[in-house]
Subunit: 201 residues, 4 copies
DNA sequence: CATGAATGAGCCTTCATTCAT
DNA sequence: AATGAATGAAGGCTCATTCAT
């Protein structure tokens, strides 16, 4: 009887190690050799669970994106409207080691996505999902009267997403400029503008 | 006397080719051999003008960033305040082949910058410069009464920059979603919000 | 389980091939490609056992030096004093294919050692060891009354070593001049001088 | 009218620079590029005077050997017999910067000579010449009664040469062990032995 | 005379991948 | 299931050399 192993568990374990390496030393230097060295597994072992380096790579970024989004959505539990939106935004900010790593990985794969159709599709899916979550919050906000009813939500949602993305990128690229406090303030401002849009008229 | 060549001109010629390749096939596949193949030059020729690949690479991204920023600043000529800001923003949008390429290259190097101190510094410099240009526009706008005098400009400028960055990234990653028209609209909205900030109170 | 191979055995096998090549075509032309070609192994195979060319090189010269010295010391078994010394000297003479190769390799690395601290240290160690062996023989000879008691041994040992080295080099550089017989005669003379030193006074 | 240049003078100037480099950084790293850099000449200039790197190389070692031998022979002026021999030996010792450089270069080319017929011939010629000079001294010594008449000179000369070579090599390879004083002592001993050979009987 | 632009051969090394065990 | 032995493609780089000017 062969040893029983939990395939998925092992895959995830490897993926976690790879994710940490991607965030630390980058895609280029994250070779299978190096993964094997740092994880203590053998090279063959790794390719036993991922037939390909590409497969390992794509699964890792997918795992990162899913974890990121599900964490944000989980934090929404019990909240709705602008309060939910604010929490959603805050959950995306690169203020913890984990989320900073996510951003670092994401940004690397955005780079790859610029020239790879497959990666672009993956990243687009992720943006779509985030956009959808934001729109939901805005719809709730509209229903709750927090946001002007006649306003088109898609541009609002995209504006929110873009500022979030830009903030995330800048927080990584210019580490000194964006403390946790300032990042949170920025999100609050974004939300406040949506609220003020109501009063503005 | 040896053949006289304009070193800088040659360097720029090579850089242009490399930039096009970076935007088309990506950093990873942009090898010196491939550059030689596509440009028709010999391998040695390229290393005659750039002592190694890193130097070629870093010069290319720098060239792209400089061209991008100087184009935006040139377009500002004669304009000031919010009008200038809008033009600045529009000049950054990935709506032409050239600017799309710039974004593709920039995004790839942002990815590298996440794990490379040197590249991070380069990109940070670029963001600093853009931020400064935006702040100048806002100062003019303030003096002209287009923008509320008491408002702090730095957060505004950063908000603008972040939306611009997020928009640029998304326009590349989700090509179908952002037509030229919508991108321009988005910039107009950004500027409009600054103007409305004045009336809001 | 992977195929089980004796690492050290494989390493030695490669080293033997490299040593032969060093003696035949020289360090400069002993490239990894050429080693692969002549040995029938692949390039990767070689770097599987030696992480780079330097490691392969330094291990080869060390292996040569060790083999050379241990052969000479083994031949001393059962002998002592001047008889041992003579045998020691004879074992160093480039009169067989193997020893000639050793000299050729040694001389090449002496050349490198003139400008490389690391190689110099390696060669110095080897000379130290040889000197020590010679001194031991001389001490035995002194105790046995073969050599004058009051004579300082270090200069004697060095004189012996120098003649041996000079003879070895010349035998390689001027192949026609030094037949086996003449080389052996030269060693006998060296030893004879030590013996005569006793009677001289 | 073309500029008049002294071909030979320029060649020698280049050779001197190359010799210094050979002794400092070694043959392998003495590339034409590097020679050009260190000498201030252009690459083409150098290859104008030496059609080949090989030609430059071989001329340099020849120049070194000639200078070395002629210096030793010059010092003999007015001397003869064992006194001349001692001076000859002392002139060969690597006790000055210049002579140390000569030894370093010579040892490198001995290494090359082990696998190159052409270089071997060059070095053999040099040894032949040295041997001849030594024999001449010994003949004078014999005639002067300093050395036993019945003794065969060739083995004596070779013994002297070998010790000289071995001493030179060791002085380079184990710099700490052989002070100028000890080197001179070693030469005196060699000569003394020839003298004592007379009395021994 | 002299320069340096341009070439391409060849080197070391890293890496993903295959496969026998 | 798991290992690591073995392969060969590909990359960056250095260098001697040729040649137009």
């Amino acid at each position: 009887m062969p040893k029983i192993v939990d395939h998925d568990e092992r895959r995830e374990k490897i993926i976690e190690i790879v994710a940490e390496m991607l965030a630390t030393i980058g895609v280029e230097r994250t070779t299978i050799r190096e993964i094997a060295r740092q994880s203590g597994y053998s090279r063959g072992f790794i390719e036993h669970y991922f037939k390909n380096k590409d497969e390992l790579t794509i699964n890792t970024i997918r795992w990162v994106n899913e974890r990121s989004l599900s964490r944000a959505n989980e934090a929404l539990c019990g909240l709705s409207g602008l309060a939910a939106l604010q929490t959603f935004g805050e959950q995306m900010l690169p203020v913890t080691h984990e989320i900073r790593n996510e951003w670092k990985i994401r940004m690397q794969f955005w780079g790859i996505a610029t020239v790879s159709h497959e990666h672009r599709r993956e990243q687009a899916r992720r943006s779509d999902a985030a956009e959808k979550s934001i729109i939901e919050c805005l719809e709730q906000a509209q229903r709750a009267g927090e946001v002007e009813r006649t306003i088109e939500l898609l541009p609002m949602a995209q504006s929110f997403l873009h500022r979030l993305y830009g903030l995330g990128c800048n927080a990584i690229l210019r580490p000194g400029h964006f403390t946790r406090h300032r990042q949170r303030l920025a999100v609050q401002e974004m939300v406040a503008e949506f609220a003020s849009a109501r009063c503005a008229h």
